[in-house]
Structures are given as C-alpha cells and as structure tokens.
Symmetry: C2
Subunit: 330 residues, 2 copies
C-alpha cells in the first residue's frame, strides 16, 4: 500500500479529471449550475469485485465500465451528461500503478463523453475493491423519458446487439460446460464478445431520437427478457417476440448455432447496456431516421399488446425457457 495521503492521492490522480464544477476537488462539495429550462437526471450504480467485474480485470476497463453503466442510464432517459461523482473503496493491496491506469482511463472516458468528474471520496475497503458512481445529466424541462407509459401497439425497439456481454462473461470465466461452443468461435468473435463484456457502449447519441419519438425507455442491464418484462408490466402490457427478430452479433449467432440453449443466456444474462424503448407506430419512421443519423442501429422486436404475463420469446423449437428472466442480484 503506497504511503500517499488522501489529499495527495486526489491531487495526483483525480484533480486532473475535474471539471470546473468540481472546484479542483479541493472543497467539500461540487457546485453545478443547471442550464435554464432543464431538469436534472440522476442515477447511481455500485460495482463490487467478484460480482460486477473480476478483480484482475484491467483497471482501465473497470473504470470505464463503472462510468459507462451510469451513462447508459442517462442515455436511456434522453439526458445529456453533466458530470459524475466517484466513490472508490481501495483494497489493502492497491498500487500506484493500478490507480494511475484506472484514473487515466476514467479521464479519457470523462472527456470522450463530456462528463467531467465533479467530486468523490476515496476510502480504504478492507473487503475488496468497490466503486460507486453517481452520474448527473440534463434534459429539457419535461423531456425525460420514463420507464412507464408503453401503449398498446407501440413498437418495441432495442439498440445494438443483445447477449454479447453475457456470452463474453461466460467466455471469460471459461467453465468446462462451455468448452464446446467457445472452442468453435474464431478469434475475432471471441475478442468481440470479451470487449462487449468489458466495455459497454452507452447510447448517448440516441437522446434526441428518444425525446422526440419514444413513449417509454430504459437501459438493458439485467437482460432483455427481464427488463422488457419490467417495462411492459408497468403498463399492463406483454409481447410475443421472435428470437429471429432480436438483433445478434455474428459472434452470438455462431455461438447460438453451436449451442441453441444459449438463447436463455443471450436474452437474460444481462450487461448489455443497450436501450430498450417503445415508439408509437406513427413515429417509427422518424425514430429510425434519427437513430440512423446518430449512427446507432435500432431494431424493432415486435409490438406491445395488453396482457399480464411476461413477454414470450419464440424460436422454431418453441418458447425459450428461462430459469430466471433477469440476472439475479441476490
């Protein structure tokens, strides 16, 4: 454990990441003026070693993932990032090298996503590395897209591809039961799945499309099946989705062809950090056009219909059977 005081640690590693609202991280608090006519959108996510990442994941990947899972929430709400606060619990065996790599990557992402560090807290965490990030964003007054409000007949869209991260996690873990399908993937596919597990891509570019066209939205963090069920249940809706209509990467397709039972992992394994939204049919063309202009693939899965049961995902062999619709946190 290096012999740095907390102040030295902040000055060396984190002050360079601070935006003007962070006051150089030399005060007790940050000070943020909201742009007129805007409301504040707030989200927080905690990540713990052994649960949300492996302790030996690259420090830069841990930093980026912690920030990006929060940015993904802002993206799904139609918000533009304003900044973030970081609470960092460092284990006994932390090194300056580890922290330098962590802070450098965090700084790169903060810059790339125009989301400066506003403040934070750094503590000892005897139990192991733990991080919590609170991200703030701004939406025009009344512009935040809620999770509630899906209406009958709305088109259900997802961005990007589904299931890559969940497969990437199994690949990373490398259990014996997964040996066959993993061995059938080419090297580019393995890299793709691993990257998708390590590095979420928050869909911040979708904000305008969501605000102008979506009736409801959320980010997919616990798996498409469970998160879609949550969004639909709030509105008394359900849906029938064909597995063939769920956008999959080439790598996920290869894996699924080899091992059809991976459908449940793809749909419920979580860590996708894609946006799921409901768009009225009259606005679908405009939504797709705006998403396309932002360079974000948006795929219609199906339509919402009245019903109490969770959505069904159908394959040629029948409905996909899940042991659980979502990643289970507890």
């Amino acid at each position: 454990m290096p012999s740095l005081s907390e102040d030295e640690l902040i000055a060396r590693f984190f002050a360079p990441l601070a935006g003007s609202a962070g006051l150089g991280l030399a005060d007790d608090a940050a000070l943020l003026a909201m742009p007129p006519g805007h409301e504040l959108v707030l989200t927080t996510d905690m990540l713990a070693a052994g649960v949300h990442f492996f302790a030996d994941d690259p420090p830069g990947a841990i930093a980026r993932k912690a920030l990006r899972v929060n940015l993904s929430d802002l993206a799904a709400k139609g918000a533009a990032p304003s900044g973030f606060l970081l609470s960092l619990g460092l284990p006994q065996d932390w090194t300056e090298e580890w922290l330098a790599a962590f802070a450098a990557a965090l700084g790169e992402d903060a810059k790339a996503y125009a989301c400066p560090l506003l403040g934070g807290d750094t503590v000892r965490s005897p139990a192991g590395l733990t991080l919590s990030i609170t991200a703030l964003g701004a939406v025009p007054d009344g512009g935040m897209i809620r999770r509630t409000g899906v209406a009958e007949g709305d088109l259900l869209y997802v961005t990007g591809t589904i299931g890559d991260a969940a497969l990437g996690m199994r690949l990373h873990r490398g259990d014996e039961t997964d040996r066959v399908w993993i061995s059938c993937l080419d090297s580019a596919s393995r890299t793709h799945l691993r990257d998708r597990y390590l590095l979420p891509q928050p869909r911040l570019g979708l904000a305008e499309a969501l605000r102008s066209s979506a009736r409801a939205a959320m980010d997919i963090s616990d798996g498409l099946a469970g998160d879609l069920a949550k969004m639909l249940r709030l509105a008394g809706m359900t849906a029938d989705i064909g597995l063939g209509d769920v956008p999959l990467s080439d790598a996920a397709r290869q894996a699924l062809a080899q091992e059809p039972d991976l459908a449940a992992t793809i749909l419920s394994g979580g860590d996708d950090y894609e946006v799921l939204c409901a768009v009225p049919p009259a606005k679908a063309a405009a939504f797709e056009a705006l998403a396309g202009q932002a360079g974000i693939a948006a795929t219609a899965l199906g339509r919402a219909r009245r019903g109490d049961s969770p959505p069904i995902f159908r394959t040629g062999r029948g409905p996909v059977a899940f042991s659980a619709l979502s990643y289970q946190h507890f």
Copy 2:
C-alpha cells in the same frame, strides 16, 4: 441470505423513503427540478465496515451516520438538502431484520432533515458491508461558501464541541491503554461520547448564518487540527489557538483532565462533523446572533494570520504534539 429479488427488496424497504423526484424508485433515474435562482451543491461519502463503522454497530446508526456525514458537508456549504442517492453493498450474511432496521432509521432521518431518497443501487458485496451516499443540496446562486478565501484577521469559529467522537471511538474500541481514563468517566459521559461517535449532528441550521457572514467554511471530518490547517493553507494563513479556547464537552474535559495526552486525539481524531468557518470581525456579532437563533453553539477559536506553517494549539505545557494532524485514510 433472504431470497428477495432486488426489485422486491427496493419495493419493500426503500420505496417508502422515496420523494416525488425518486419516481417511486421504479425508473432508471431520478428527476429533480432545481428551484429557480439556485445552484446545486453535491457531495459524496463512502463508508466501509471496519473503517468507518464497526460491522456490529446498530444498523440504524450506520444508516444515520452515512446520511449525516453527507448532510454535514451540505451544512458547511450553506446549502439546504434536496435529496440523496444510496448505493448499498450488502454482505453475504445480510438479514431482512438488519435491512428493515437500516431502512427505518434512514427513513426517519430523511424525513427529519427534509432530504428524501431519490434513487440508489443495491448490490452484493462479498467483501463486506459498504455504503456510498451522494447528497444534493440547493444554494441561492453564488451563495455556496467555499473552503478557500480566509482573510487575515478573520475570526475562526467552530460549532458544537470537538473531540467527542474520537474519544467515543476509543471508548468503543476499549483498548487496554485507554483503561484508566475510561474507568474514570461516569456513565453519562460515556454515553455522551459513544453517541457522538455513532450519531453526527449535521449543523444544517447554520446555513443562513454562514451565507450571510462567513468568508470560508468546511465541515470537520478528519479532525480540527488537520482540517483547520487545510482551510488556512489554501489562503496562505495560519493561527495560534489556545487549547482552552477549543469548545469541549464536560465528558471530554473529564477525560483530558485524567489523561492530558488525549489532547492530540481530541484535536486530530476526526469524526466531529462540526462546522469550521472564518468570519470577518465586522460580521462576528451578526454571525453569533444568527447561530444563536438557530440554537447552534459557535465558539471563536482565534484569528487567522499570514503564515505557512500549520496552526499551533497551545496548552500551559506548550504546543500540542501530533503524530499526524488528521485522521489518516491510507
């Protein structure tokens, strides 16, 4: 470990604490409208078992402390609380009984301090209980009191009494070396010191006095000696303080009379969560009157003067010697 899903856990224990901005904790994010003409003040603190509290401290005390240390930062900045977000990492052996007591106490404090729960995240924390709270407050535009800006001749004030929590922590730990002074305390004094360690009292009532009269302020979390040194150093100032001018509780006085070496613990042990501020002499009377109206004791320790060295605390036996000016986080 109870078999509750994260959603059930949130609905049962935390949704009752949510303010309207928290959207019933059923969305990905909270939505907060700032009052016109106000800026947002943000602060975050992480607490880990074995560092900031003992794992067997009462769950309600852990909850209250986590919220109150953040409210103390808002108080020192002259801000009024708007709400908070909670990240909670639960150890493997959590129980519903523990969580119910934690949430009930948190809810009582959220109500008492008009600081509703806006959102949060609950995760497994294999390494042990870890919490992070981000608190938000509002100040009139330009009204936040910074830590910087102490001027020569400013009176240095502290609220409440100093050192109780640091003594309370040693009392709680009960090391053999502390046996003599602890055994000389009466039962009321022991209870007082323990309570001050377990339950900080954020001085939110001081906000108006600070905004109208203080040039600089911070909350004392790492000990008066180190925190005063930080505030003065930012302005190129120092001070000579008589230990007799530092406000002490009767319990701390008893302990100090028994064991004069406790002066260093009292001044540098931390966990006071009192406000330290610098007030121009012309505003001192108004400051004291407003603090008095708020029912908060404010004691002048001395005056700021130019100088590079840390402030000195003098007793009849000479300056207090510190092994470290502040609680050392690392």
